[in-house]
Chain length 362, copies 2
């Protein structure tokens, strides 16, 4: 076995999920994530945890959904599985990222609604999602398998303790700050972050962070004013969308455009009221990620990028008891801006990042 797979499993079990002896762990194994599952099984055996392996494949999902009449029910046994689990490790990696492309979106939505209690039970555990770098994901990223493995392990096998320390400085500034201003050649946006709690997303449940890789600091902005250009290419609802421009007044999008597939943007903005407000401001700090791969798990963590999400915000950005201030929406759509050149981020008028470099890196 490639030693990087073992190292990945060790980081996932030890740093990310903090698995201890006796923990009941669900390991969700993607159809083409078998090798990582073997390495995770080794780690769980060594630690004396109790694993149950479930199987995830878009092909099974599609076969089930497209043959169902649409009157979906809650799955009692799956809910019981998660309600009795301490942690859930999702090892993503199928053989075709388009395996469910022909499932009607209404069918998906109906199934997702019936699945709400199962999802809530899963999210109540110490869950962590990661990917096994395989051929299908390499293809999505436009890379050879070897190249993609190097890319992915560079992002995953970091010195997380060190990165957590650097991100803590940014979190501190955001926690204490009231207003953020983001300026690039085509962007000048101000947002209030008064009373919000930034998350130091250090790829560990101990930091309220559930992705491996991670490496971003994010908070929940409001009262957004100004203009922003998202210049990083992305795929939304299966379609390429380029150069989205948004104009905000009093926290809401009042004007927008896109250079490609603008109708997708229209559809997102018209989902509900919350879809026209921002749910997240995230600052990428993982310098192991050196290029865009059209996979949000990696793209939004990349150093020298800032992302904003239209739609719902995370409860973790609100002090306890104030989660009802969170922006509500059925969508959460991340969009990225490159801040490596001609850019700055100010907090209460102080420049905290210029051209991608933080004040403590200068």
């Amino acid at each position: 076995m490639d030693e990087r797979i073992r190292e990945h499993a060790r980081v996932l079990v030890e740093w990310s999920a903090r698995i201890e002896a006796g923990d009941d762990v669900v390991v969700v194994v993607g159809m083409d994530a078998h090798d990582l599952a073997v390495a995770v099984a080794e780690q769980l055996g060594e630690r004396g945890a109790n694993p149950t392996f479930t199987y995830q494949s878009g092909e099974l999902t599609r076969a089930y959904l497209t043959n169902h009449d649409g009157e979906f029910e809650e799955s009692g046994h799956e809910r019981a599985l998660y309600e009795n689990a301490d942690a859930v490790l999702s090892l993503r990696g199928g053989r075709n990222t388009s395996a469910t492309a022909d499932v009607p979106s209404e069918t998906r939505q109906r199934a997702a609604r019936a699945d709400q209690a199962v999802r809530d039970a899963r999210l109540a555990t110490d869950w962590v999602a990661t990917i096994h770098p395989n051929r299908s994901l390499a293809q999505q990223a436009g890379m050879s398998l070897e190249e993609y493995q190097e890319f992915a392990y560079d992002a995953i096998l970091r010195d997380w303790e060190d990165l957590a320390g650097r991100m803590a400085k940014v979190k501190e500034v955001l926690d204490e700050g009231s207003e953020v201003r983001l300026v690039t050649r085509d962007t000048d946006l101000t947002m209030s972050i008064e009373g919000r709690t930034a998350v130091n997303s250090a790829a560990s449940v101990a930091y309220d962070s559930h992705n491996l890789p991670s490496g971003e600091v994010f908070t929940a902005p409001e009262a957004t004013e100004g203009e922003v250009l998202f210049d990083v290419p992305m795929t939304l609802q299966g379609k390429p969308v380029r150069d989205v421009r948004l104009t905000f007044e009093d926290g809401e999008v009042v004007d927008y455009s896109a250079a490609q597939n603008e109708s997708v943007l229209t559809e997102i903005l018209e989902t509900d009221d919350g879809a026209r407000r921002l749910g997240e401001l995230g600052i990428g700090m993982n310098r192991g990620i050196d290029r865009f791969t059209d996979n949000i798990l990696f793209d939004e963590k990349m150093g020298d990028t800032v992302h904003l999400a239209l739609g719902r915000s995370y409860d973790s950005n609100f002090p306890e008891g104030r989660e009802d201030e969170a922006n509500e929406s059925a969508v959460h759509v991340d969009m990225l801006t490159d801040v490596s050149e001609d850019s700055r981020i100010e907090v209460d008028g102080e420049v905290v990042q210029r051209d991608g470099a933080f004040w403590f890196e200068e």
Copy 2:
């Protein structure tokens, strides 16, 4: 998709497991049983059942067990999954039937003991085990993949209703009979079956039958007297064992021999007191199985064969409230005799089968 896979899934879901709308179903997917899992997902969608897919791989089992210190615990979440399930469909089929060959037997036994409650919960559901005919199983059977697929589907895609009707006649004779005599060139054995209930194993939970394929009628004999030769080659505990001869007096083995690996037989007989008594007399009636493949799921169902098992008997062979008469043992080892020539089975002195042909087939 090969239409035989779809047909296999239909027989499994409809005839064998009797799945209905709203049933919570666990589908255990072997590492190389994906295609059958897709077909089963279609069937479950069509019927409005709620599936959860778990992943079974000897490689994961080995990785976990060999890295564990041996102090295994019960898996609370897995138990909850099965306790809340109506049915369990096991789709067996890995990539290497020897994947756990180097796991020490003591480790397996310790893990199995910790797993008792999970196993009990699973067996309390409407469970059915089947195999997906893949390359690894073809190799075990010494066949090409295409040849093995034909072999397996011939055994699985039967007219089960018709076979159940023919087996019912044999069950009736055994239920009413008191003594069975089995005679071949090298065998002359008498057994009491007084007060026992034969099972018409028609590959359906509706018949208390949990294997697909099935096709045997079995009961629990006692007070065995005489001699028997098992002339069908078999693998026991990973070793080839040939021509086992047993001599019974008053229900117990008093003398034995084997032409190859006799020590394996010794080890089995010395397990406990129950291991020296018979737990099962089974008559194979699936004429879709035309050769031995050293896979007991198929071999013991083959027409023109009789099998006897040393060790524990099944509760289903005893009238309700009399399950305590069942033979108790940690082992249940099936051994086969070819009855296609020079043989007869008598029930209370009446010949019910001669040279493999039942009285109603003559």
